[in-house]
Symmetry: C2
Subunit: 199 residues, 2 copies
DNA sequence: GCATTGATACCAACCGGTCGGTATGTCCGC
DNA sequence: GCGGACATACCGACCGGTTGGTATCAATGC
């Protein structure tokens, strides 16, 4: 292992472990072993375990945004098709074992919201940042069809709620089937919301 | 404190603490202090901490089913109205601070699904049992209106996904507003699914 | 061209405290 | 007087975090 990559290796290990076992059950020692570094290195790069959590949240969102950028979900002429494409990408991501497709942020914020305010804020910001482009496309679709009755932000947050809830179901039943079904219901809802306004 | 109630007090304390801080971050000592009993009493009634979690999940579902039974959500002539009433009760329950209205099962299963199989199974069973009556009403509503294209179970699970996801959002943003908005989207979806089949 | 310097990256050993769990007793209703 | 319901005292392992130190680097002076 070459000099200078300990921080990245720790963040990657943290994302994997916390997604699988949660924040509290992931120990610093365990992370160091997984990343192949020592505890000294850990506390050289992160002041506390909470600091690592905050950095991991930011890195996770970067990673996720990269996936969506490469998916081409915004490459459609109609903004409604872009919104539906976002959901389709989410459905396609539901593959492999549970920790592989679930969300670090949702997992973490459930545990720490009441006890680690800084980490809660970081999770909130991560969600907001990730949803911003989706919210733009929803607003464009609403404007193009003259749809009213709700705000773009509320629908974007609803999309995120279904995604996070689908992850909870996937963890409860040990696989992604119910999660995918739920996202298909979401897709139908969005289609119905806008298509009934078509000419 | 009278003799014989230590078990109930421990379960109540566990439901409160785990809802607020999660399973891993809730220690046995802390629970004993909160319940006003000693560690000897704890391990007299529960073989392990995981056993307590399983018992707490069952007790939480009992408590929740009691709330819904008293709400009268099934006291409508039309099964669709009963389904919508279930969602309305869920919206009305979104009051107070976050640990007061969020779900023990969803919080716990996120942390333990990969590490505590027995606890994961208990959470899965709790969700399934709670959803059974809702699924019946969905099936009745579908039959009454000749709605097809999805199964009653998938819509019941979607309702639960939105509820769980709404709780995650509430924890991320520190309040129930976004959660309530999401449940209103869900209500609109269910209404649209069935009402477009009305005469 | 090379020694000096200061900063950064990292390491091994260790700290007090807390973790889940146990061993052994005591009390009280039947 | 006996069994279930607790209490007290304790255990080894592990927790997040700290310590004092070393290896490696770029920048500087000469």
């Amino acid at each position: 292992m070459s000099r200078g990559e300990a921080r990245q290796r720790l963040l990657d290990a943290a994302i994997g472990q916390i997604r699988a076992r949660g924040y509290a059950a992931t120990s610093v020692d365990e992370l160091c072993t997984a990343a192949g570094v020592t505890k000294g290195a850990f506390f050289h790069h992160f002041r506390t375990k909470e600091d690592l959590g905050i950095a991991a949240a930011a890195r996770f969102i970067e990673w996720l945004d990269g996936i969506f950028a490469r998916s081409g979900w915004r490459d459609h002429a109609d903004p409604l098709d872009r919104v539906l494409a976002y959901i389709d990408v989410r459905i396609r991501l539901l593959r492999g074992d549970v920790p592989h497709f679930t969300c670090l942020i949702g997992t973490m914020v459930q545990e720490v919201h009441a006890t680690h305010p800084a980490l809660r804020t970081a999770c909130e910001a991560g969600i907001r940042d990730h949803l911003a482009p989706l919210q733009e496309e929803i607003a464009a679709a609403m404007a193009a069809r003259g749809v009213t009755g709700f705000t773009p932000g509320s629908l974007a947050q609803h999309v995120m709620a279904v995604i996070q809830g689908a992850f909870v179901l996937a963890k409860a039943e040990g696989g992604p089937e119910a999660a995918a079904e739920s996202l298909r219901h979401l897709r139908r809802y969005v289609a119905m919301l806008f298509r009934e306004h078509d000419a």
